[in-house]
Every structure is written in structure tokens, then in C-alpha cells.
């Protein structure tokens, strides 16, 4: 049994130690807001926050997480910064197909928690998730708006 702390709750899961956190979240815990895109940490659709840091959960073996605090998109509106990011995403009408946006919102939230007033360079460094619909400019605008 592995113990996980996700969105303020504690879960016991019976999975192989090397199971990626992504699949524990999605299939074991039913938290499907976190998406599978590539499985090799290229696209960022699976981004969650682990102790406040944006992390691509497809490459995180579940036994490496320990007692860390995992936050997923499913509880984003419980977080004050997350709420601001979501409101900015809605105001800028960012999503198109929307599939990458869970990860984008998590990356933006992690950025603004660490750097409340990011420069364009900070945004470029932090917002590296892929979007096949090409919503990059709106993403950047929404991050700036959320930063206030």
C-alpha cells in the first residue's frame, strides 16, 4: 500500500511502486481532470503541483512521492491563486479543444504561487506545455491578467 496526499485528502492505493502518479490519479482515484498526452513529459497535459512545484505526473513513479502534497486540477478552485488563474482563463477565452488546459492552468498556478508578478521571460520559461490548438498567446495574456 502506498499513501498519497491529494487535494488535502489521504488515500491508500495498492499499485506497483513504479506506476506513474498520472495513472494512479486517473484510474485508481478517478481524478480524470489530469490528462494523458504523451507519457514522456513532453507535452505537459499531466501537470500537477507537488509541494507547489509544477510537475509532469506521467514521469513520477508513485513510490517517489512520499508524503508530498499533491494538488490537481480537480481541486483548482479551492486554491486562491488557482481561482484567479481560472477566472483569467475564462475571461481570455483561452481553451479551444481544452485537452491541454488542465496542465496549462496547473503550470500557471504554480508559476504565480512562486512568482506572483512574472516577467515575460518568466512566463516563457514556466509555460512550456504544448497546445495543439495554438492558444499560446491567450495563455500568456491570461497569466499576465491573473498576475494583476
Amino acid at each position: 500500500m502506498t499513501t498519497l496526499h491529494v487535494n488535502g485528502r489521504t488515500y491508500q492505493v495498492a499499485v506497483e511502486d513504479d506506476t506513474p502518479l498520472l495513472w494512479v490519479l486517473r484510474d485508481t482515484l478517478g481524478l480524470t481532470g489530469t490528462k494523458y498526452g504523451c507519457g514522456i513529459a513532453q507535452c505537459g497535459a499531466c501537470t500537477v503541483m507537488i509541494d507547489g512545484t509544477a510537475t509532469r505526473s506521467c514521469q513520477v513513479p508513485v513510490d517517489s512521492v512520499g508524503s508530498a502534497d499533491i494538488r490537481t486540477i480537480d481541486a483548482i478552485e479551492e486554491d486562491p491563486v488557482g481561482r484567479k488563474v481560472v477566472e483569467a482563463w475564462v475571461a481570455a477565452q483561452v481553451p479551444q479543444c481544452g485537452y491541454c488546459q488542465s496542465g496549462q492552468v496547473m503550470a500557471a498556478t504554480a508559476l504565480l504561487k512562486q512568482t506572483p508578478h512574472p516577467t515575460d521571460g518568466d512566463i516563457a520559461d514556466a509555460m512550456t506545455n504544448l497546445c495543439r490548438c495554438g492558444t499560446y498567446n491567450r495563455i500568456a495574456a491570461a497569466v499576465r491578467q491573473a498576475a494583476g
Binding site: T32, Q96, M127, L130, N137
Partner: protein, 760 residues
């Protein structure tokens, strides 16, 4: 646990054969020709519509059931509208939402006439059924057809439903209908001050016989149409609550992962370690499928680990030849074959006397252009879920752009009547043409086979690597051009020879019999320029690989070919490329207006090179006429370290008229991004019979770092409504390549730019 289950002996027909049979059997088309869209209006959509229109007369009349034959698509209001007691409106839409904003657009159109604020709509993709065949008897989400094909019909639907509300209220209040008005979901009797909510009236109202002569709203009084109404799905998509096919789950479901044959078309010969894999944690069963092995397990990760542990011997591909994906098949070999074809071409477009013009030319230029195979790369990997119900039905959740066709093929796969297949069409995590029916490139066939074999509901999910192996691809393409240039430096004749194959001929060939496949030549043909002598020819040369529709289809490469060559014509004649286009469009005010608009947006046409912030930059211009719309595009580039950086893209876009300006702009931005991705980076290479890309690490797509500023201006010329989702793309590759040529003198005729060393 019943391990070592193997799927029943495979008696499946080839998926392509199934598809062709299905086309003859399903109500793809309406047999009686009844439609709210006149054929003339349909033809007015342009070349792509002509193609679909061409399907109509050749469709075999199917032995339709009485009820199906009696249904006039779009006429039965309760098939489209559910209005709850809480006055919430659910619209069952003929179309599937995959990012293009069609759910919001449909809510605007219906809401405008129904008199309900679109923000209160829930829009779902309707189940299969004759009511939804609204594209002149056809149902699909593609070809940038949704809004333009259904706009009049959906308005009428909303207006008719509103009239039913009024009549139901009149009966209830015992007043004349003329004394009633509506206001955002209420029927109001002004004289008595009574307000009746639609939700209370709906059970009676929607059962009334609809009138077919209800007046539509005066466009001057539109409140929702033509407004930048907020998308209905952005909050759900910003909070992880939007549900895609991959997110769905059924009670008692098994998860399945698949390993496909490395060489397309080969089959499983033996599995060396089936027993060992069957004993892996959570594994339910191991299966041999056509061209694949599968593992069903209690979680997808366990299924994936197990299936990738299987040691499979596959049959050998053919050693050589282009009838199948042979052991020596390669992209460069395919391109060489297209180039060296000596087959006689069929005329795709001809006018004047090209031969005479060439004989009298002051100068003749020639060039060869090509573009590679591309994957769709939609971020949601494909999945499908199947369950055989106790009542004998098959329930299927499958990403798709044509529900009735998928239902029919699913029924044949399962050995059921089509009406025994309940198909759900989930929201798509991107599509770009990915979710048409492409035979073995669709996972739902495997889901059905595995659900049958295991007796359990099954969800099949392809890993990204399996998707890279199986996705149907934008065809590699080739065109050779020749132009005759007169003494005055203007072109007098143009010839083109396009060799290859388009997806329309491949997948709809059973009903589309024109030997000139428009999806192979569009963008080389039907250009607006006044070049008096033209001979464009087409040679069909089938690809052994599975080819696909890909955002903007033939235009995605052909406008690059033509508009790149047009800049070469300008250079050869000593003309400025913008001025030459204006000159060749003297009698085309719609096109001139777009060129003028895009020039003004970018601060006036200047080709460059010029200096900005210490870097040399230059611009390129292009035009395209895709899917009934018109575009003019200017791109600004610089080159550093051999790498092209695009700083700005300006697009003047004329789709005739629009429904939602904000969504139109988003779609153009998105099309620019995908077009730029293809221009700069994308290329699926075959070598030794197998694909050389496996994931986004060895198939780079556009990232934020390469995203330019995109400036979009909508021009509503009032021409018949054109498409929106695709037309922003085709102008981008030529505008960028023309800018690179202006900057460096280097003319790139083969995409992507990443494979050429660009130097100033």
C-alpha cells in the same frame, strides 16, 4: 479469472471494404432528396461543397424504413430541444465539439430565434438518427461545413420552436397568439402582465404540430448572432471538468492496451511469452487482433506494461513495391515515385491555350514542390469504450466525426443491426480531421472485439506511441509547375502536374467517382488570378499508407505550392509579389479588398529586408480560397542560426458572414499555429517500411517559443457563408516561405523548413 482468452476467429472484412459497404447502406444521404437547403445553395459553398454535392445523385437509394424516409432533417423539434422545468435548454446538436466552438455557435443561432440567451444552453452531440442529417442529407463534422451548412435550418428550428411556445401559451391563457411576445425563455402577455416560462409550456408546446412558415428574426435585431458570445465550455475546460472519451468509465470495465504491428498490414504469427504476461499483475487476458495484440487488465497502466512485454512474431511485409507498406518503403522513395511518374494527367483545370503561350513566352520557369506526410497530433490519444448490454444492444463511446457511419460499421463488426448500436459521440480533445473513419486507424473496432471476447465492458486506449504508429496521415504531395512569362514580366500561362492521392478519393471513392480528386488538387486549382492560359493536371498515384483528411486537406500543401511558385513568377518577371497579385486580381474586388486589408493591418506592404531591433526581417504574402472563404496572409520572419523565427502573422479573413467574431478569430489564430507548425517542423518520415517518429520528442510540434503574434481582421463581404475552422491555415506556409525567400534569397520548395539550412 479467465486468462488466455483469445478473440474469436477473425472473420472481419477489411475495414475499407466495410466502409464502402456502409456508405451504400447507411443514411449518409437522404434518399428522397428533401432538404431545407436547396441544392443551389449547397453548390454555392464552393469547390468542397461541390464534392459533397456530387455524392448525392450517385447514392444508391437505400431500402429505408418508413419512419426514416418520412423524416425531414431538422424538422422534428423534440429531436433537437429539451427544455426542462427549470427552463434549462438542452440542444442535441448534429455536430461534435472538438475545440472549434460549434456548440456555442449552435446555441447562438437557435437561441437567437428561440429567444433564449445562449449562455443557458447545454449542447450535446445528438445520437445517430435521420433528424440530424442536416448537411443536405449528410451528417458529419468536417470540411468547415457545420455552421454554413446548417445556419438557415437551425434558425428555422429555433423560430419554429418559439412559435410552438407562443401557441401553447395562447391556448393556456385563452388569448390570441398575436397578443403574446417572448423574452428570454418566457412567453409574455403584456395586457395582463402574465409571464409563462418555456419550461412549463414545453411538454405541451413541443408536442404541437410545427408550422413551416414561421417568420425569422430581422438580422438588424440580432442580439446573439454576430456577437462575441462567450464559449459555453471554457470554464469546464479550465477546471478539468470537461469529459473526453479518455475520461469515461463503466461499471465492471476492463482497460485494454494494444501493440500494433511495426509494419502496417502484417499480422501476428505467434506470441512467445503469453503465459508469463498473463500472470502479470492485474492482467485479465491476452488477445490477438488483426494487426495487433492486446491485453485487458484492471488498469490501463498494467495493461500497457503487459502488452509491451509481449514478445510477438509478426508476418513479414512484402519485400518491395508500392501496393502495400513494403519492407523498403520510404518517404523519399515515395516522393521519387511521384516525381518520376510518366502517366498521362487528367485535366483538373484548363483554360486558354497554354501551349501557344509557352511557345511565345519571353521566359519560362519551372519548379517542383513537395510536402511530407503529417500526423494529426491531437493531444487526446484515441480511445473507445464498448459494452454489450443484456438487451442485445452494443453501446459504444467513440470519438468520431460521422456518427451514422461509425454506427453502421460498428454494427457490421458486431454482427448486429445498426439500430442495435447505441453510439455516444464524446467531446474531442482536438481532431483536425483525425476522427473520420480510417479503417484500422480507429480503435473502436478493437473495443468491440475485446468486449465481445471478454464478455465485459472494455475501454481501449492507444498510447501516444501507438497513435504515432497508427494515425492516418496527411498525404505526402508533389506538384511540378511551369510558367510562361511575357515581355512585360507578367505571367501568360501556368501549368501544373499534381501526382498523388487525396483522402476524398480514398475514403469516399465508392460514391465520389470523379477521377480528378478535388482533395488532391484544391489550392493548385481554382485560384483567383487572371492568368489567361492554364493547364492543371492530376495523376492519381495511390499511397500504400493510410491517408487522412488533415486541417484544410489539399489546401494545406497546395496553396503553399501555388503561392510559392507565384512569388517565383514575380521574381522572374521583375515584379513585386504583392503588386503582381493586385494586378492579377484587377477584376476581383473581393480579393483585392482582402489584400488591401492585410497590407493596411501590417502597416502597409513592405517586402524588406529591413531592420527591427538589430535583426533583419522580411515579409511574404499569400492568398487562399479554402472551403468557401477567402484569406490574405502576410508573415514577417527573421533567420538566426539557420532557424526561421516568425514574428508576426496578419490574416484578413472573409468568410462571407459570421456567427461569433470571437470564435472566428480564435479559429484563425489556431489555424495559423497549426499551419506554422507544419511549415517549420512537422514531417512524418517512413524508412525501411516503418515510421521514424514515435512521440512528440522526435516529432516536434509548435511550442510557445515559436508562436508569433497573430493579427486577424474579419471582413464580411456578404458573400455566401464560408467555412471558418480550416481556412486560416493554407495561407501560412507560403507567406512564411515567401518571406524567407525575400530575406535570404533562398527559395524553399520542400517542407518543413527545419530540414533546410536557412542562411542570410
Amino acid at each position: 479469472m479467465d486468462r488466455l482468452l483469445t478473440a474469436a476467429p477473425i472473420t472481419l472484412k477489411d475495414p475499407l471494404e466495410l466502409q464502402i459497404e456502409a456508405q451504400s447502406a447507411v443514411p449518409l444521404m437522404k434518399p428522397d432528396g428533401v432538404s431545407n437547403l436547396s441544392r443551389r445553395a449547397f453548390l454555392g459553398f464552393g469547390a468542397s461543397a461541390l464534392v459533397l454535392g456530387a455524392l448525392l445523385p450517385s447514392m444508391p437509394v437505400r431500402a429505408a424504413t418508413a419512419s426514416a424516409a418520412a423524416v425531414k432533417p431538422g424538422s422534428r423539434i423534440p429531436a433537437f430541444l429539451v427544455i426542462g422545468k427549470d427552463n434549462a435548454v438542452t440542444l442535441l446538436s448534429p455536430f461534435v465539439e472538438g475545440g472549434q466552438g460549434i456548440n456555442t455557435g449552435m446555441a447562438q443561432i437557435v437561441g437567437e430565434e428561440l429567444d433564449v440567451n445562449p449562455s443557458r444552453f447545454t449542447v450535446e452531440c445528438a445520437p445517430p438518427g435521420p433528424d440530424y442529417a442536416v448537411i443536405n442529407g449528410l451528417r458529419m463534422t468536417g470540411g468547415s461545413f457545420s455552421t454554413r451548412s446548417s445556419y438557415p435550418l437551425m434558425r428555422r428550428l429555433g423560430a419554429t420552436a418559439r412559435d410552438m411556445m407562443i401557441r401553447a401559451a395562447a391556448t393556456k391563457l385563452k388569448v390570441k397568439p398575436e397578443s403574446l411576445k417572448t423574452e428570454d425563455g418566457f412567453v409574455i402577455h403584456a395586457a395582463s402582465g402574465q409571464r409563462l416560462v418555456y419550461g412549463e409550456l414545453a411538454p405541451v408546446a413541443l408536442a404541437l404540430p410545427p408550422r413551416d412558415d414561421v417568420a425569422l428574426r430581422d438580422p438588424a435585431s440580432f442580439r446573439y448572432i454576430r456577437q462575441p458570445v462567450a464559449r459555453l465550455d471554457v470554464r469546464a475546460k479550465s477546471t478539468g471538468k470537461a469529459v473526453y472519451a479518455i475520461d469515461q468509465k463503466l461499471e465492471g470495465m476492463l482497460y485494454a492496451a494494444v501493440q500494433h504491428a511495426p509494419n502496417q498490414g502484417t499480422t501476428v504469427q505467434s506470441v512467445a511469452n503469453e503465459a508469463a504476461v498473463s500472470a502479470m499483475p492485474g492482467v485479465h487476458s491476452v488477445h490477438k487482433l488483426p494487426g495487433a495484440v492486446a491485453v485487458a487488465a484492471d488498469s490501463w497502466w498494467r495493461a500497457r506494461k503487459a502488452v509491451e512485454t509481449l514478445s510477438v512474431s509478426w508476418s513479414a511485409p512484402a519485400a518491395s513495391g508500392l501496393d502495400s507498406v513494403a519492407a523498403d518503403f520510404a518517404s523519399d522513395g515515395m516522393l521519387a515515385a511521384l516525381k518520376s511518374s510518366s502517366a498521362a494527367g487528367l485535366p483538373a483545370e484548363s483554360d486558354g491555350d497554354a501551349a501557344a503561350a509557352f511557345a511565345n513566352a519571353a521566359k519560362v520557369i519551372e519548379a517542383e514542390y513537395d510536402a511530407p506526410y503529417l500526423v494529426h497530433g491531437q493531444l487526446e490519444p484515441p480511445s473507445a469504450m464498448a459494452r454489450f448490454n443484456a438487451d442485445g444492444t452494443l453501446e459504444l463511446w467513440a470519438p468520431n466525426q460521422m456518427p451514422e457511419l461509425f454506427q453502421s460499421v460498428a454494427a457490421q463488426t458486431a454482427g448486429l443491426a445498426p439500430d442495435k448500436v447505441i453510439l455516444h459521440s464524446p467531446m474531442l480533445g482536438g481532431f483536425f480531421g483525425r476522427h473520420f473513419l480510417y479503417g484500422s486507424a480507429n480503435p473502436f473496432l478493437q473495443a468491440i472485439q475485446l468486449a465481445k471476447a471478454t464478455g465485459r465492458p472494455v475501454k481501449v486506449l492507444w498510447s501516444r506511441e501507438e497513435e504515432f504508429r497508427m494515425d492516418a496521415v496527411r498525404p505526402l504531395s508533389f506538384t511540378r509547375f511551369r510558367a510562361a512569362i511575357g515581355k512585360d514580366g507578367r505571367p501568360t500561362a501556368i501549368q501544373a502536374r499534381t501526382v498523388g492521392e487525396g483522402p476524398l478519393g480514398r475514403w469516399f471513392g465508392a460514391v465520389f467517382k470523379d477521377p480528378v480528386d478535388s482533395s488532391a488538387v484544391e489550392g493548385v486549382t481554382e485560384k483567383p488570378y487572371a492568368i489567361p492560359n492554364r493547364r492543371m493536371e492530376y495523376v492519381k498515384f495511390p499511397h500504400p499508407v493510410t491517408i487522412a483528411f488533415w486541417r484544410s486537406v489539399g489546401h494545406s500543401m497546395n496553396d503553399f505550392f501555388y503561392e510559392g511558385f507565384l512569388d517565383e513568377i514575380a521574381d522572374a518577371g521583375g515584379q513585386d509579389p504583392f503588386a503582381l497579385r493586385m494586378d492579377l486580381l484587377k477584376d476581383k474586388p473581393r480579393h483585392r479588398k482582402l489584400l488591401e486589408t492585410v497590407a493596411a493591418m501590417s502597416g502597409g506592404w513592405k517586402r524588406g529586408p529591413y531592420q527591427v531591433d538589430g535583426t533583419r526581417r522580411a515579409r511574404g504574402v499569400s492568398m487562399a480560397s479554402p472551403f468557401g472563404s477567402e484569406t490574405a496572409t502576410i508573415a514577417e520572419v527573421s533567420v538566426q542560426g539557420g532557424e526561421t523565427q516568425v514574428h508576426n502573422v496578419w490574416v484578413a479573413f472573409d468568410p462571407g458572414s459570421i456567427v461569433n467574431p470571437a470564435i472566428v478569430k480564435s479559429q484563425v489564430e489556431s489555424a495559423v499555429a497549426l499551419g506554422l507548425s507544419a511549415t517549420l517542423f512537422e514531417e512524418l518520415v517512413y524508412k525501411d517500411g516503418v515510421r521514424q517518429s514515435h512521440n512528440f520528442d522526435d516529432y516536434p510540434i509548435l511550442s510557445r517559443r515559436s508562436m508569433p503574434a497573430v493579427h486577424v481582421e474579419i471582413v464580411e463581404s456578404g458573400a455566401p457563408m464560408g467555412g471558418v475552422g480550416e481556412p486560416g491555415l493554407p495561407g501560412v506556409p507560403p507567406a512564411v516561405v515567401n518571406a524567407v525567400a525575400a530575406l535570404t534569397g533562398q527559395r524553399v520548395r520542400s517542407l518543413p523548413l527545419a530540414k533546410s539550412k536557412i542562411g542570410v
